[in-house]
């Protein structure tokens, strides 16, 4: 746990970069510091491992004032990854990752094992990459090594200053996803600095929005998007914050499970009854394994009253359905693209498991919007 208590940072020229910051970074969570340039996010982060001195207040690291530790000892137990990566070009990948373990005096065998383990963790083949030099790696690979190096001595805490900032958008997405997967396994306490709100929403368990050295709002991404505290936060998170919020929610959590559906073998009467019973316009058609095959609506049944196969609209489940693991935003996108008010939800085999409606998404957004307006 890291606790900021009324932390102030004043530079020699009188500029107050951080002005009375108080917040708690919880164990095992990614806490994102975000805000416009000059808001003090990086300064705040750099005070944690004392790369910058604290003018007033204090920062508790694992319950102890961080000034009670010798600076080097403190830094060795806090992983550090930066945007410029800062790999040492004269050292091999192995030597780079081994820096902190060597500073801590680990034995060579243990270091070697650890390095291989970390390379595998960040998705690099140890046998191929161990003895390469940073110049022989691509930008994305370098940043993977950068992350591995920050994890070198298995520090409980990590500081990451825009670690994926200098990487092309596609690779960045991949690295973000991979890092989230890694974090699921290692559960580090992480302070993650970024200026990219999308990255913050994606990576953060909690987001601290800073402005002029002060904390404006500190909440989970969903709360932040649903209930921005004031105009500054609302502007900062963007006009599309409802969409962003939908990006946080999984279809699995929003869908309704009792979706009107009929078997391929059923009669048109069965289909009509199912539709009427549910008071909807259409029903999904599934085969004997429950795999989505298409849909049938009232109009189709009227035109082809004899055969369900003729009345239904066929469609591949990959095209007309969304996966349970998709985000609500993707479901919305699917509905907008196809002009439907409802979209079926399928599992990995394509079996229908539920559906999600446009109305449900709207209600979700309304809820947040209204409360957000009231709060401001």
């Amino acid at each position: 746990m890291i606790e900021f208590q009324n932390v102030v940072k004043q530079f020699p020229d009188g500029f107050r970069a951080v002005n009375g910051l108080s917040l708690t970074v919880h164990d095992g969570e990614i806490t994102v510091f975000i805000g416009p340039s000059g808001c003090g996010k990086t300064t705040s982060m750099r005070m944690v491992n004392r790369l910058l001195s604290i003018t007033e207040g204090r920062i508790l690291v694992e319950g102890r004032d961080n000034r009670d530790y010798p600076a080097e000892e403190l830094r060795r137990k806090i992983g550090y990854a930066i945007q410029q990566i800062g790999l040492f070009p004269h050292m091999t990948v192995l030597q780079n990752i081994a820096v902190v373990p060597r500073l801590l005096g680990w034995e060579e065998d243990r270091i070697r094992k650890r390095v291989d383990e970390l390379l595998e963790l960040v998705g690099l083949d140890p046998d191929v990459n161990r003895d390469k030099y940073p110049r022989q790696l691509s930008g994305g690979q370098q940043q993977r090594v950068g992350v591995a190096r920050a994890l070198g001595a298995d520090p409980p805490i990590m500081l990451m200053d825009e670690p994926f900032g200098a990487i092309d958008p596609i690779t960045r997405e991949v690295l973000q996803d991979e890092f989230l997967e890694i974090q699921k396994r290692i559960s580090k306490t992480i302070i993650f600095v970024t200026h990219d709100i999308d990255e913050a929403i994606k990576m953060g368990d909690r987001i601290a929005i800073l402005k002029d050295g002060s904390l404006v709002q500190y909440d989970t991404p969903d709360t932040l998007l649903a209930k921005p505290k004031n105009r500054f936060v609302r502007d900062f998170v963007g006009a599309d914050r409802q969409l962003k919020r939908l990006g946080l929610l999984r279809v699995r959590e929003l869908m309704t499970r009792d979706t009107p559906n009929v078997s391929l073998r059923a009669s048109t009467d069965d289909a009509r009854r199912a539709i009427e019973a549910a008071a909807v316009k259409s029903a999904f058609v599934v085969d004997e394994d429950g795999v989505l095959k298409g849909w049938v609506d009232r109009e189709g049944l009227r035109e082809n009253p004899d055969s369900l196969l003729d009345a239904m609209n066929e469609g591949d489940f990959r095209e007309i359905g969304v996966r349970q693991s998709a985000t609500a935003r993707e479901a919305l996108s699917a509905m907008v693209a196809r002009g439907f008010r409802i979209t079926p939800v399928v599992d990995e085999r394509g079996a229908l498991v539920g559906s999600i409606t446009l109305r449900a998404l709207q209600e979700l957004a309304d809820q947040g919007w209204v409360e957000g307006e009231q709060a401001s």
């Binding site: 403190l74 830094r75 410029q84």
Partner: protein, 374 residues
């Protein structure tokens, strides 16, 4: 077959050609024209030298003297017949002394060494043994030529056929080379030590305010003519070895200090930030991160400084520090052109040789990760 091809690396082939040329030249005997050599009884000799191994020895007059093979005893090679004396003209190279090895055989030895290294490191990216072996081989070849008076006699006679004087009359070429090299080595070691220390010091945060001062002083060191520094130092320190050393240090400091500063300042700040953030101490950051990354630029400065020093050291003759400046100064005084040329050629050859060797050293000492390409 492929083994044979790997044995005859380009370097091995060059040594082989060189060896053949040396053996061919060995059969040609030249008449000696220099009066002193003739007086010593040498009237005819081959221009191909025998191998001269350099030996460092301490002597009271100069701190360190570099000699030819007449001092092999010092290192206990056990090869030297006891009767070889320190005569001013052991010209003699090829006369007598049956244990001496003709340079042709040494070149053949180098063929074998290069070939074996070629086999040993075939296809391997090796940047330590091979460059150093080659540099050492080339140094020994040049050094052997310095030690072979008949070679210089032949060359100077070829250029000045009518001159009665050829070789410098008060010292052998090899001992001039020893003195010159001693001046250069001692002054360079001190220059590098002082220059590195200054460069490192003024790039530390605590002493950064001295950076302009130091670079001014160092710059002015090079604007003052060396001869003037030598002349000023002589009354203060006295004549001989040390005033020349002081002048050489002052003169050679600029490239070392400047390149050290430029090199250290050029290290990516993000790298240093990462190093601090990982918990390296300032001295660990300096020696494990900053210096290795600046090494290429620093070494380039050292190389420049040493080469400059070879030329500047010739001026040491005016305060009696010896070296190739002696035949130049005496030759100019007495209008004996072969002496001037002897000093100038030998000094130039030494500058080229040291530049080559330092180039190799620079290559060896630059971290592989900084040279490597994708």
């Amino acid at each position: 077959m492929s083994g044979l091809r790997r044995f005859f690396t380009p370097a091995a082939l060059v040594w082989l050609v060189f060896a053949v040329l040396l053996f061919a030249a060995l059969s040609v005997r030249e008449t000696i024209h220099d009066p002193q050599l003739r007086a010593a009884g040498v009237t005819e000799a081959s221009i191909v030298p025998d191998l001269w191994l350099p030996v460092f020895r301490f002597s009271p007059s100069t701190l360190l003297e570099m000699h030819g093979s007449d001092d092999l005893r010092v290192l206990g090679f056990g090869l030297l017949p006891a009767d070889v004396s320190d005569s001013p003209n052991p010209a003699a190279g090829s006369a007598g002394a049956p244990w001496r090895v003709s340079l042709g055989w040494f070149a053949l030895l180098m063929v074998v060494i290069e070939g074996l290294l070629g086999l040993r490191y075939a296809g391997v990216d090796e940047k330590l043994v091979r460059p150093l072996v080659r540099a050492a081989g080339i140094f020994l070849v040049i050094w052997s030529f310095y030690g072979h008076e008949p070679f210089w006699d032949w060359m100077l006679h070829g250029i000045f056929p009518s001159s009665p004087d050829l070789l410098y009359n008060s010292n052998t070429v090899i001992s001039l080379a020893g003195q010159h090299l001693t001046l250069v080595i001692i002054s360079s070691i001190l220059t590098v030590a002082i220059g590195l220390a200054l460069g490192i010091l003024v790039t530390r945060a605590e002493f950064r305010e001295f950076l302009p001062l130091v670079s001014d002083v160092v710059n002015s060191g090079q604007t003052v003519p060396t001869l003037a520094i030598v002349a000023i130092m002589a009354p203060i320190i006295g004549f001989g070895f040390w005033p020349a050393i002081v002048a050489l240090i002052l003169y050679g400091l600029l490239p070392v200090v400047r390149n050290t500063i430029v090199g250290l300042e050029g290290v990516d700040p993000a790298m240093i930030d990462a190093a601090r953030g990982m918990g390296m101490t300032p001295s660990q950051i300096l020696w494990q991160i900053e210096v290795p990354n600046a090494s290429r630029i620093i070494l380039a400065g050292v190389r420049t400084s040493v080469v400059i020093n070879v030329g500047t050291a010739a001026l040491g003759a005016y305060v009696g520090s010896g070296g190739f400046g002696n035949p130049i100064a005496s030759g100019l005084n007495q209008a004996i052109q072969p002496w001037v040329l002897l000093g100038a050629l030998s000094a130039a050859l030494l500058a080229i040789l040291l530049d080559y060797i330092l180039g190799r050293v620079e290559y060896v000492m630059t971290p592989k990760g900084l040279i490597i390409e994708r």
